[in-house]
């Protein structure tokens, strides 16, 4: 049993960077709430070198412990269903890796693999390339930024909904041309789809396509949804209308804010 999961608590950074599709946003903890204090456009975190990151630090960041929330562009998600999840961590890991190898063609060793039970019989698997993580950590270290947390926005939303007694049937997270739809059943996720769209107008069509797939594959009829959309000047009403025409009702859960920070 990995006791760190249950007994060891890690420090929360007082400053976060959200790495979006082609921008960065800086948040600081003020009166127990994270407030956006800066935004840098036309920047991709993975393309920044340590010098550029150092310049950003000088202009936007405080010299404090910092967290980084990445959007899901570099992440691969899977939800595996089992008859029974073993209690022992090693057995659990072997089981998940065995299932992962069946669906994932690449060498798992090249990836940072994390997995979390999200229901009695379901495990959420999260993969990110080792070299992506190493590059980020190196750049931040060279830039003198004390990076103590690297997380993912979609996982944070899932965590947020898992803690609630009820959740919408699915939520949509959109960051420019990247969209993730996560379906929930009895407050636990069972299907995740990540897709890219060329035109923002195509979001509703892709969502409905995914919805139809879920209806036919999982014999469920999702009817409520939540949204976490981080696009400037995006006409939300038109998307909501299109989803409403398909009988979908927006859930009043508080997942519509841009980013949910670990807590």
């Amino acid at each position: 049993m990995d006791i760190t999961k249950y007994f060891i608590h890690f420090r929360k950074p007082s400053q976060y960077i959200y790495a979006g599709e082609n921008y960065l946003e800086v948040f600081r903890l003020e009166k127990n709430n994270y407030r956006m204090t800066g935004r840098i456009d036309n920047v991709s975190l993975l393309n920044l070198n340590s010098y550029e990151l150092g310049e950003i630090k000088k202009s936007q960041l405080l010299d404090v412990e910092t967290g980084l929330i990445l959007n899901s562009s570099q992440f691969i998600f899977n939800i595996f269903e089992f008859d029974k999840i073993p209690f022992r961590e090693k057995l659990k890991q072997d089981l998940v890796e065995w299932r992962l190898q069946k669906v994932f063609p690449e060498d798992v060793q090249l990836y940072e693999h994390s997995f979390f039970p999200v229901a009695k019989n379901k495990i959420l698997s999260v993969l990110v390339r080792q070299n992506t993580k190493e590059k980020i950590e190196e750049s931040f270290q060279e830039a003198g930024i004390d990076l103590i947390h690297i997380g993912n926005s979609t996982v944070e939303i899932i965590d947020h909904l898992l803690r609630k007694k009820s959740s919408p049937d699915f939520f949509v997270e959109v960051d420019n041309h990247l969209a993730i739809v996560v379906f929930f059943n009895e407050s636990s996720p069972y299907y995740i789809r990540k897709f890219r769209i060329d035109r923002l107008e195509d979001i509703s069509a892709e969502i409905l396509k995914t919805l139809n797939y879920v209806k036919s594959s999982y014999s469920t009829v999702p009817s409520t949804y939540g949204m976490a959309i981080n696009i400037e000047n995006f006409e939300m009403n038109s998307l909501k209308e299109q989803l409403s025409e398909s009988g979908l009702v927006e859930s009043n859960l508080k997942i519509s804010k841009k980013i949910i920070f670990p807590g």
Binding site: H9, F10, R11, K12, L124, G151, D159, R163, P262
Partner: protein
Amino acid sequence: MRVSYNISNRKKIDIFTTLRYALVLLLLAALFAYLGFRTISVKDQQLRTDIEKLSYYNNQLEEMNEKTHRYRDEIRVVQKKWRNKVRYSNLLISGKRFNIIGKLDMVEKILPVGVYVKEITMKIGSGAKVLLTVVANSYANLFQVYKKFSPYDPSIASEIENDGIHQARISIILKNTSKEKENENETK
């Protein structure tokens, strides 16, 4: 369910929160240990009480067993006494069947005139044997006695003569009357 996702290699432990949780865990562990100890001691106390009770009941049982044996012995003695009494009573009952008056009546009828009985002895349980001391005023009368007693297996124990008075000690067997025989059969 919680999903705490942090892949940073430079994670820093929140010592204050961890210690707080550790303290809570420690307190809970102490509480459980205390409750466990208390439960065990209460159970132990109960067990001791039960053992004491069991020991008390065992002693009681042993005492009762001893009493039972004693009572059985006493009952055996009483039964023995009672049986003896019953046997004695039965003997008395069977003695009642020995018809003394009938036998005296027979002797009276058998004896001739001029002869009288000085002494007669009949013992219960001695069968039909009757021991008589008869006195006659003449030898002829005494001879008459011998003659009359001849069907009853007479046995003359002694015969003396003093001043013309003849005295003889005779034992005869007076068989049971038919009525006495009926009673005997009924008893059998």
